[in-house]
Symmetry: C2
Subunit: 208 residues, 2 copies
């Protein structure tokens, strides 16, 4: 049973890995299930037995990669981080993950489409709120203490991720070749001004 399950898991995982590789190379519509099958050495029957369709494989892959991304972000902050430190770490975590997991990031932010994510919308929402909760455990006390300005969780995220994402998307699409991490310092500085309270700012105000 274990061995069988393991075999099933690897067949599945092989297909998922192959899917990621082929999607990255050819895009979603350019990727043929034949190419994915071949790369994973799986038969047509196996493919459609394990995944009902190309979209279903894509959706599964999406959730898996989203989980890895969230894990990377969550790992960036812990209760001991101050406001400025935490903001800096979140932004660096995002930039680092995108650059170091280029294929995965490209898949999440460029290739995946809301149309075929609809089927897994629920799971996605669950994962999103789990991420939000985790970050809130770090953020809420700081808001209490006035070190972070009060705003909703989603607005906070938009301030941290939004600007960085502009550079990440440009880089992922090939529109811009410069490493988005080069913007880390300026992005952090801006984000700190945007979300960190005056109290915390006074503590270690900008020095030239």
């Amino acid at each position: 049973m274990d061995r069988e399950a393991a075999q099933v898991a690897t067949a599945r995982d092989d297909l998922l890995a192959a899917g990621l590789a082929v999607f990255d190379r050819d895009g979603f519509e350019g990727a043929t299930v034949a190419a994915i099958r071949t790369r994973a050495r799986a038969s047509n029957g196996s493919f459609f037995h394990l995944f009902g369709s190309k979209k279903e494989l894509a959706g599964t892959l999406f959730l898996e990669i989203l989980a890895r991304y969230h894990a990377a972000i969550v790992a960036a902050v812990d209760e001991s981080c101050g406001a400025r430190e935490g903001v800096a770490r979140l932004i660096r975590a995002h930039l680092d993950w995108v650059v170091n997991s280029r294929r995965e990031a490209r898949y999440l932010f460029e290739i995946s489409r809301s149309e075929w994510t609809e089927a897994i919308r629920g799971a996605q929402r669950t994962q999103n709120s789990r991420l939000a909760e985790a970050v809130e455990r770090w953020r809420a006390p700081l808001v209490e203490r006035g070190e972070l300005l009060p705003m909703t969780s989603s607005v906070f995220f938009s301030q941290i991720i939004g600007p960085a994402q502009i550079f990440c998307r440009a880089w992922l699409s090939g529109r811009d070749r410069t490493d988005p991490r080069e913007q880390a310092e300026i992005l952090i500085a801006c984000a700190i001004r945007a979300v960190v309270g005056p109290d915390a700012i006074q503590k270690t105000g900008e020095t030239a």
Copy 2:
């Protein structure tokens, strides 16, 4: 010649409009050229004469819509705008355009893909830099005067558009149903802290 050109133009435009409608309804891969043709009442031959492929139509449409979007943004600021005023107008212009031109925005930000934008990468870059130039004409003097903090044009854009775009994308994809314009005030407040210099801030500092 004029009349002929006009007819060609309408056939072309009919197909582009039909393409936008069908792409919005079915997504890029869900959209069949048969559906687009039918809607535009054009024959198969006409379609492939006017556009070499489905992707080429998509690319043309992309550039056209990008131009409209840029026009809306450029129109938001003029030389008379102060720092805070200009930042607020840019953000509102973006949010308004996305909500009022939902289909077009969905196309630009959700449906279009870098893979088939590659063919028109050059034109896209040209348009982007034209937008950047236009906004720089407003921004540069304010940076000179210290009303806006010094940063590259692209970082400035990332601060203005990035956070708003998080909400716009969530709304466009249907992930979030709340109107992104509801976030306008808080987004503007954050952006002002991020990019407006202390001089300008003192002038009309935050009041509760």
